[in-house]
Each structure stands twice: as C-alpha cells, then as structure tokens.
Amino acid sequence: MSGFLNFLLPWLTSPAQWSGQDGVPNRVSEHIFYTVLALAVAMLLALPAGMFTGHTGRGGFLAASLANFARALPTIGLLVIIVQGMGIGLVPPLIVLVALAIPPILINTYEGIRSVDAEMKDAARGVGMTGRQVLFRVELPAAMPLILLGLRTAAIQIVATATVAAYVGLGGLGRFIFDGLSRQDYQALAGGTVFAVLLALVVTLVFMLLRRLLVPRGVRLQEKA
C-alpha cells in the first residue's frame, strides 16, 4: 500500500494535475456530469416502466427479459458502432451508459413493487384508495429500499463505466486511463482509477443518506425486525 502511495504521490502533488482542462477538478466534474445525466435519463425511462409493470403485474416477463438482454450488451462494441454511425459527441456514450443503468433500476423497481405484501394492498384498497393512490402512497414507499438499491447499483456501474467515454475522445476520468495507457504513463492511469473508485464511494455514501431521507420510518422498522 505504501509502495502504491509512493508511486502515485508525485503525480498527485504535481501542480499540473490540479488546474486546466486536463486537471483532476475538471475531469472529476466531467465524470460527475456524465454520471448524473445518464442516471437521470435511465431513471426517467426505467422507473415508470418498473412501476407500471410492478403495479399491474402486466409485461413483467417482457421487462425482465429485455433488461437481461441489455445486460449482455458489450459496452465498448456498442459505443464503437454508435460512434461509427453518428459521429463523436456526448450522445453515444450517453446511450451506452443509459443502456447499462436500465436493467438494475427496472428489475428492482418491478420486483420491489410486485412483492409488496398483498394484505397491505388489500387494506389500502379497503380504505378506499384508488389504484394510483395505492401505487404512490403504499407500494412505492414500501418498495423504496429495493428501488434505492437498484439505483445505487446503476450509479456505481455508470461511474466505473463512464471511463469509456474517453475511448471515443470525450473527457472524464477515463482520459487519465486511456491517455496514461497510450503514453505509458501508468501514474496517470492509477490516479484516474483512484479517483473513479473514490467517486464510487461517494455514490455509496449519497445513497446511504438518501435511504435515511426517503425510506419511511415504518418500513425501516419492519426491515430491522
């Protein structure tokens, strides 16, 4: 471990690393930008789909099969062929990252809502709730821990994979990795990697916080029991 630190320290402490376009601050913020954008688009697509299939029980098999199929897509191959088709830009890596993030979000939302206690749903209907109210006031809060878990998995996968944006000429922490690779500058490569892992840790912490904020107290107590 100390060997690794000695190896990395000159890179980390060089002033060139901390300013300008190729500096750590800029690359980290680019990386966060890709991650947040991809996660937002994936949520917009997968959350409603998971809520609908979970609530109605219809199309669940189709959703799960599609999500499994998406998991098999090879990220780099997909990225290369989209770039060959539509040129370099933000959209190709975004498509790839969204495709990666949809399966965990969709499957966890679907499973979470579907597996809400049937007696709880009956009780909600019994007190006169409409289907929409059952979904938003009962099923969604009860499924929240599982939904957040899916979102966290998706976010961590995006953070680790957003490095491929650099493979097709974009920025982000992948720049350190790919440039380091082509210049045989393995300090830069290790530095970029360390920051990507740190970002994944930050994501984990953010989701622990979200869990505290979004999971209702009743559901948390039930989980502990």
């Binding site: 990220t75 780099i76 062929i81 060959q84």
Partner: protein, 216 residues
C-alpha cells in the same frame, strides 16, 4: 453497412468466440470457488459479512480497463490470465451475496430435522443446505456469467484476446460489420450460456419439478 469483410473472416470469428468463452467463463468458475467458502463463512460467523461484502463491492467499482492494464503491466503480462483474474474478482459482488441469501433462506425446521436424523455440520451443509440454496446461487451465476461475457470484451481492446479484439480492430480500420459481428456474437454467447444454466439448475433441483407435477 458493408458486409464483404465477414465471409473471408469466419475463422477469425470462430477463434475469437472460443477465446472469449474461455476468458469469460473461467472467471465465473473461479469466482464460484472463492464465493462458496466466503458465503459459508459469512453465514456461520455473521460479523464477517459486512467486511467481505464491502471489499467485494469496492472491487466492483474499479474500472475494468484499469485492472486489466495493471495485471498485464505488473503481474501476469499480456496473456488471457490478465483478463481472467480481474473478471473473477468482479463476479464476487454478485456471487457472494447470492450464496449468503441462498443459505439463509433454508427453513429452520429443515435444518433441525437434518440435525435430528444425525447429520453433522459438514454433511448437513453439503447434502441439505447447499442443495436447497441452488436456485438462488444459480440466479447469481446467471447474472455473473452474462456480466462476465459482456465485460470480457473490454479485455479485447487491451489486446488480451476474445471478441473485444473485433471492436478494437473494427474501430481502428473502420469496419462497422466487424464491430457488429462482435456485438451479435457476444449477445448470442450470453444467451446460450444463460439457457444452459437454466437447464443445469433444473437438473440439479429435480424436486422443484416433482412438486409442481404433484400439485397439478
């Protein structure tokens, strides 16, 4: 898309597919060999689970490219082993939790019955608990296998072999049909392996079918 690249390179495609199969499936086997004892330990001594799970998850957060480069530069050189070890480490974040969940959901009465008829701890684990955990463990193996096949193509762009080399070559020489063939073969491979695993699970858990048959 121009297709004339394909007919002359069927041999290359077959070689790349065979290589890919090796570099993606061996990690799952290795991962399972590591995950089974880790999962058993985590269930037996509960306090070990958070650190084991934490480390497995942290490994998963490392960009795969970086691990492939690290292995091929400093540890195992430019060979398929440099792809297999990182991919095996990546499977742990899926396999360990599934082994744990599978073992945890064995009903207590079943465990007690096994003890009552004289099974020791080891025999109970091998003949009762693990077989009951098979469906959950296989579910984890399926996810790990598909992920490993898909992620294995990243190893190809590092020159470690497999279908990813088609992506690298297709990008550098601008041959979309080569990239496309690589994508289709990756998905096909994932699909075939998934079907085989479902069949394996059925063969390993004959009782689940017998029960369905009895109910019908």
């Amino acid at each position: 898309m121009e297709w004339q690249w394909l007919p002359g390179h069927l041999d290359d495609l077959a070689t790349a597919t065979a290589q890919h199969l090796q570099l993606a499936l061996l990690p799952v086997v290795l991962g399972l060999i590591i995950s089974l004892p880790l999962g058993i330990v985590s269930v037996r001594w509960r306090w070990t689970y958070p650190p084991i799970f934490g480390i497995a998850n942290l490994l998963y957060a490392i960009p795969s490219i970086a691990l492939f480069v690290f292995m091929s530069q400093y540890v195992t050189g430019l060979s398929v082993v440099s792809a297999i070890i990182p991919l095996a480490l990546f499977t742990l974040s899926v396999l360990v939790p599934n082994v744990v969940d599978g073992l945890k959901q064995v009903p207590d009465p079943v465990r007690q019955a096994a003890t009552a008829v004289g099974f020791g701890t080891l025999r109970r684990l091998m003949q009762v608990e693990l077989p009951i955990a098979v469906p959950v463990i296989v579910a984890g193996i399926r996810v790990a296998t598909v992920a490993s096949i898909s992620l294995g193509s990243v190893a190809g762009i590092m020159g470690l072999g497999g279908l990813g080399e088609l992506f690298q070559d297709g990008q550098q020489r601008d041959i979309p049909s080569e990239v496309f063939a690589g994508i289709v073969l990756t998905i096909l491979l994932a699909f075939v392996c998934d079907v085989i695993l479902v069949l394996v699970q059925r063969a390993l858990t004959p009782w689940s079918r017998a029960r369905k048959g009895a109910a019908a």
